[in-house]
């Protein structure tokens, strides 16, 4: 017996909340942007750790 509704189409029961999709997409963009800002290029070499000068007290 063929299905009543072809997959991926159709009625109000299959509506995806567009607002959630937009929020998810915006958060994904924010994730990439903050990742780049906080860690430099995420796929590039990490900046070497700057060594603090050691002050010796005699």
């Amino acid at each position: 017996m063929p299905p009543a509704e072809p997959a991926g189409r159709g009625g109000p029961s299959r509506k995806t909340p567009v607002v959630l999709l937009i929020v998810a997409a915006l958060l994904l963009v924010a994730r990439v942007a903050t990742g780049v800002i906080e860690a430099g290029n995420p796929f590039g070499p990490q900046a070497p750790v700057q060594q603090q000068p050691v002050i010796q007290i005699e």
Binding site: A4, A7, K15, T16, L20, T34
Partner: protein, 236 residues
């Protein structure tokens, strides 16, 4: 949001003996640890993610495999509503378990004479609740892709791939691979450490965006996949 689906999902889990035994063990053993070894402190009460996995494995997939979903969608229920309601039901259950465990555990630690601050308890509780919600979210997505308890197998597989990338990247000093493994980790185990977030040195907006992005993306994609699912009895 559909209250009937939420209540039915909670009842479904309460009637599952295997899950109840697992949850009971994960709930009681850390409390015994807090009583007999209070030096373990709050880190010994970190089971939010485990509660999420034990409750939400097979969140959608089991309903697909058993033919429940066909019956549910024969009623006027929107598919996104079904996904969101199941996600909310298990997030609520896991969060209640976390709150109870951390509260009782903190009382035990306090009774045993170790100092414990209310502020630290609340931060730890919030971290574990967020871990539980994150765990339910990733399993919601994986469960929308595969039937039965296949979501658990998928999660283990992706976690192992992340681990392989981590080892490979570390061994070859390849920072890109290490970064990829970290991102896989953030997706398979979305967490937001509130204690670290509120520590002096500034808020990590990346940690916040990363967590929220994983949760919303998992839910949105799960809804899209469930919408595209062919559920006719004839399709099998």
């Amino acid at each position: 949001m559909n209250t009937t689906i939420i209540v039915a999902a909670i009842q479904q889990r309460l009637k599952s003996p295997v899950r109840m035994v697992l949850l009971g063990m994960a709930f009681v053993f850390p409390l015994l640890g807090a009583w007999f070894m209070p030096v373990l402190g709050l880190p010994g009460l970190a089971n939010g993610f485990f509660f999420a996995v034990a409750l939400s494995a097979g969140l959608i997939g089991q309903d697909v495999s058993t033919g429940v979903l066909q019956l549910v969608f024969a009623r006027p229920v929107r598919r996104w509503e079904y996904v969101l309601s199941r996600w909310l039901a298990f997030s609520l259950m896991a969060s209640v378990l976390v709150v109870l465990q951390v509260t009782i555990g903190s009382i035990f630690i306090s009774i045993q004479g170790l100092p414990i601050e209310a502020d630290a308890v609340l931060k730890h509780m919030a971290t574990q609740v967020l871990a539980a919600i994150g765990g339910v979210s990733i399993l919601t997505l994986l469960s929308s892709l595969i039937g039965g308890l296949g979501d658990l197998a998928l999660w283990v597989m992706v976690t192992i791939i992340g681990g392989v990338f981590q080892i490979w990247g570390t061994a070859t000093f390849n920072t890109a691979l290490v970064r990829v493994s970290q991102e896989i980790g953030r997706v398979t185990r979305p967490e937001l450490d509130i204690t670290a977030l509120m520590a002096p040195g500034g808020v990590s907006w990346f940690a916040i965006a990363s967590y929220l992005s994983t949760v919303t993306l998992c839910l949105a994609l799960a809804m899209v996949f469930v919408n595209r699912k062919e559920l006719s009895y004839a399709s099998g």
